[in-house]
């Protein structure tokens, strides 16, 4: 993950677009929180810039 972050940074993408989190099956609340948080991060970053150019 650390390596992937470096890669994204070097080509100019936000490393925050990728996140790794360990959530156990019994941690429903944590799972919801993580997803909510991450969705917000992604929304604030906007759409993937790799998508629009093609």
């Amino acid at each position: 993950m650390a390596a992937l972050g470096k890669l994204l940074k070097i080509v100019g993408l936000e490393p925050d677009r990728v996140r790794l989190e360990w959530v156990s099956a019994s941690e429903g609340v944590k799972f919801a929180e993580v997803v909510k948080e991450f969705t917000e991060t992604i929304k604030s970053l906007g759409p993937n810039p790799l998508k629009k150019v093609a």
């Binding site: 650390a2 390596a3 470096k6 890669l7 070097i10 080509v11 100019g12 993408l13 936000e14 810039p49």
Partner: protein, 307 residues
């Protein structure tokens, strides 16, 4: 460097190796091409340029069979590539006698050569230096040198001043890009990726790209078949696969018909990763590529708890 050609001839005459892979100069146009040297005549044509645009390490891994023993004459980056391939079990180093040639520091127009910190092939069995001297770096190398009663000298490393100068040139090469805003940096790379004609030249020439079943082949559907330029993932997938072990040989950039500065990107990522993992590719057979072999200790250092 006549001694090098002499050594190759001795190796062939005594039957120590079936042949020696080396860059040789074509008699007609003066170009340098790869050659499996088996005769004295070919040995005389071995070119000792500090750069040639193909990877012999990749060829060696295809050339060595169960009962064949071959030699290889190459520059530092090619020897580094060979070591990386050996780590990936693509070649058995016992079957290869590696003769390294020190690179000249000055006079190379290639950006990757200017960024290079490794002039001396200290991991080769036998190393030839620009001043005409030679050293045996391994037991295999010592045996080999005893053949030609050459006076071997102490094994050398790249002088620290030369390394310092290389680091400075790296700075110059990357400074402009590093100063850019992420958005501009992305635009910079995307504008280059848009030039790509998907010729697979970078993949085919890369000594670290050895996979027989490549994920970038059209039928794997990561990169859609047909249509140019290819999906941006083409470059990012390759970058992720090779990034930790790039030896900055520049073969990718040299083979790119669209002049995409690929090695600038790969080398920059590799420097970041070697700082992160403390791993330098191609120098030591026993240290394994970090992205392939993460140990529990590494995970702990990165703050990942495994229960």
């Amino acid at each position: 460097m006549e001694e090098l050609r002499h050594l190759v001839k001795e190796m062939l005459k005594k039957g120590i190796v079936q042949g020696v892979l080396a860059p040789v100069r074509e008699s007609g146009n003066g170009n340098v091409s790869p050659c499996f040297v088996t005769t004295e005549r070919d040995a005389d044509r071995i070119a000792l340029d500090s750069y040639y645009p193909f990877s012999l390490a990749k060829l060696v891994s295809k050339q060595v069979g169960k009962d064949t023993k071959v030699g290889m004459v190459g520059t530092t980056c090619d020897v580094q590539a060979l070591i990386e391939l050996a780590k990936r079990e693509q070649v058995v180093l016992d079957k290869v006698l590696v003769i390294g040639v020190e690179c000249e520091e000055e006079g190379f127009p290639y950006p990757w050569c200017r960024r290079c910190e490794h002039l001396v092939p200290s991991m080769a069995d036998v190393a030839f230096y620009q001043d005409g001297t030679v050293s045996a770096n391994t037991e295999k190398g010592k045996e080999l040198l005893s053949l030609m009663n050459a006076s071997a000298r102490e094994k050398r490393e790249t002088p620290p001043e030369a390394k310092e100068r290389a680091l400075q040139r790296q700075e110059e090469d990357w400074a402009k890009l590093a100063r850019l805003e992420p958005k501009e940096r992305l635009d910079y790379w995307l504008s280059y990726f848009d030039r790509c004609i998907k010729c697979y030249g970078c993949r085919n020439s890369c000594p670290i790209c050895f996979c027989k079943d490549c994920y970038l082949e059209p039928h794997k559907l990561i990169v859609k078949p047909g249509g140019n330029p290819p999906d941006k993932m083409f470059h990012l997938v390759r970058l992720m696969h090779v990034g930790d072990s790039c030896v900055n040989c520049g073969r990718c950039e040299a083979s790119c018909p669209m002049s995409i500065p690929i090695s600038r990107l790969y080398h920059a990522l590799n420097k970041e990763l070697s700082a992160l993992f403390g791993y330098e590719p191609g120098l030591d057979l026993s240290s394994l590529p970090p992205l392939g072999m993460i140990t529990e200790e590494d995970m702990k250092n990165l703050g990942v708890e495994l229960d």
